[in-house]
């Protein structure tokens, strides 16, 4: 497959994306409901996963098809891994293989294909992130005064967050397995995703439609940029690559501290 074929594949993906109709989004809006469960006598919320999956799966499937196809231009000398927030992790190649590759490092085809493929992988990981919106923290931001006045229990937060992460990961996993089967996913990528999900659920879930400046989403939003920045630092590559568990623990601790302090900061900012 030549460069033109690769660009045609990407173009077909874009045309497909543009084809999302108003009726689809109306359906999405109707189905995007939040259900309240009462385990341990406390309200926790969970988002209906069907519209999230309906939104994500077509894109995941197309990427699973398009990215490996475009990489075949390079004679499969380059591997891609799903690794949110980190393009550096997502490309790997072998010196010996590269020596016999049809496209050499210095040739434009190599750069065009790897950059487009890497951007596609980068894009699909961002598309997957809405799955993390299946959050249990949804009501906290909206009913913050009630939670503030009645107190927010630490055990309740931990329980909610654990359930939230498990649910999000389940959804993420189903998408990830498709990418893995197509050869552009790896456990390494998922481990990173797991850590990032810990932050993302806390960042976005409480305020799906919250527009107030002092919402938890805005308060925490910079952490997603912080994570992006950190994961792109080459100096930290070995740390992040080898100690995914540590990243997870750091993310969880940060989430906890941020969440608990948010109520106080919100009270301070209120008005």
């Amino acid at each position: 497959m030549g460069l033109k074929a690769h660009i045609a594949t990407i173009a077909s993906v874009l045309v497909f994306l543009a084809g999302f109709s108003r009726s689809f989004f109306n359906w999405l809006d109707r189905k995007l409901t939040v259900h309240v469960l009462y385990p341990l006598g406390r309200p926790v919320t969970i988002v209906n996963p069907i519209p999230l999956l309906a939104m994500v799966m077509p894109i995941v499937l197309l990427m699973a098809y398009a990215v490996p196809l475009s990489l075949s231009v390079l004679g499969n000398c380059v591997d891609m891994h799903v690794s949110p927030f980190s393009l550096e992790f997502s490309i790997s190649w072998d010196q010996e293989k590269m020596a016999v590759c049809p496209a050499k490092l210095a040739e434009p085809d190599y750069y065009v294909v790897t950059i487009l493929a890497a951007l596609s992988v980068y894009f699909v990981t961002y598309v997957l992130l809405p799955l993390s919106l299946a959050g249990l923290r949804y009501i906290d931001g909206r009913l913050w005064t009630l939670f503030y006045l009645r107190g927010s229990k630490l055990t309740w937060f931990v329980f909610n967050l654990a359930l939230n992460v498990a649910f999000s990961l389940l959804l993420y996993w189903s998408s990830f397995k498709i990418l893995e089967a197509s050869g552009i996913g790896s456990f390494k990528g998922l481990l990173h995703a797991f850590s990032i999900i810990m932050l993302i659920v806390v960042v976005f879930a409480p305020s799906l439609e919250e527009e107030e400046f002092t919402s938890l989403a805005f308060f925490l939003f910079f952490f997603s940029f912080f994570a992006t920045f950190l994961s792109n630092l080459k100096l930290l590559d070995p740390f992040l690559e080898l100690n995914g568990g540590l990243v997870f623990l750091a993310s969880a601790s940060l989430s906890l501290i941020i969440y608990v302090s948010w109520f106080r900061v919100r009270a301070w900012l209120e008005g």
């Binding site: 995007l32 409901t33 939040v34 259900h35 309240v36 009462y38 006598g41 406390r42 309200p43 919320t45 988002v47 949804y138 009501i139 909206r142 009913l143 005064t145 009630l146 939670f147 503030y148 006045l149 009645r150 107190g151 799906l208 439609e209 919250e210 107030e212 009270a267 209120e270 008005g271």
Partner: protein, 218 residues
């Protein structure tokens, strides 16, 4: 005395917005804080609800610093912020659960709302009704409602809100703010009502506002 306010000055940082003021409220009392926009009504109510710290003075609930008993306060803010993707019944269930509250069917009947619709399908007025309905399902000693007529149509503002406030006052102490003269008059006929003209205590109101509104302190 259930709630006692002593020389309270409310505001933000160095900005003193309203005060000093002192008053006391017993169980079943209604305090109507009235005045035009921007004189500090919401700031005062947030401070009484312990969301803001008093700049000076104190707010005592059951003889102690109100912060120690803040779980006995139910506060409805002026802004209509609700969990959009929840159903009406689910929202009220959450409030009821947090405040060890009551059945929600009666509350839905009072404000004429269906329970099985999603919040984001409601109009602005109906959302405010939902917030007011939440007052009925919460069990607290002090209910603080910041401008209950926000977003409501004339009928609801004139007829529904006074009857709701009357019912709430039977359950505990009620503090309500308004800029609507008609609500002040409608609530004024209820028992144990105290009026507080926020303009008199405002430290940020412009002189022209004081002249236009005059003194209506009862």
């Amino acid at each position: 005395m259930l709630l006692e306010v002593r020389d309270l000055v409310a505001g933000y940082g160095d900005l003193e917005v309203i005060g000093p003021l002192s008053f006391g409220l017993n169980d079943g009392d209604i305090l109507v804080v009235y005045g035009p926009n921007g004189v500090g009504k919401s700031t005062l109510l947030k401070t009484l609800a312990t969301i803001l710290k008093p700049l000076r003075g104190s707010v005592l609930l059951m003889g102690e610093d109100a912060v120690k008993h803040r779980e006995q306060i139910f506060y409805v803010p002026e802004s209509i912020t609700l969990p959009e993707r929840l159903k009406v019944r689910d929202y009220l269930n959450v409030v009821s659960l947090l405040y060890n509250g009551e059945e929600i069917d009666e509350a839905l009947k009072i404000v004429s709302l269906p329970g099985d619709v999603r919040v984001n399908t409601l109009s602005q007025g109906l959302r405010r009704r939902l917030q007011l309905a939440s007052v009925f399902v919460a069990r607290a000693r002090v209910y603080i409602i910041d401008d209950p007529t926000v977003g409501l149509d004339d009928y609801a503002a004139e007829h529904l809100v006074p009857s709701i406030l009357g019912e709430v006052a039977k359950r505990g102490t009620l503090i309500v703010s308004t800029k609507e003269r008609r609500l002040t008059e409608a609530v004024g006929v209820l028992k144990n009502v105290k009026m507080l003209n926020a303009l008199e205590y405002s430290r940020v109101a412009r002189p022209s506002e004081r002249m236009l509104n005059g003194s209506r302190h009862t």
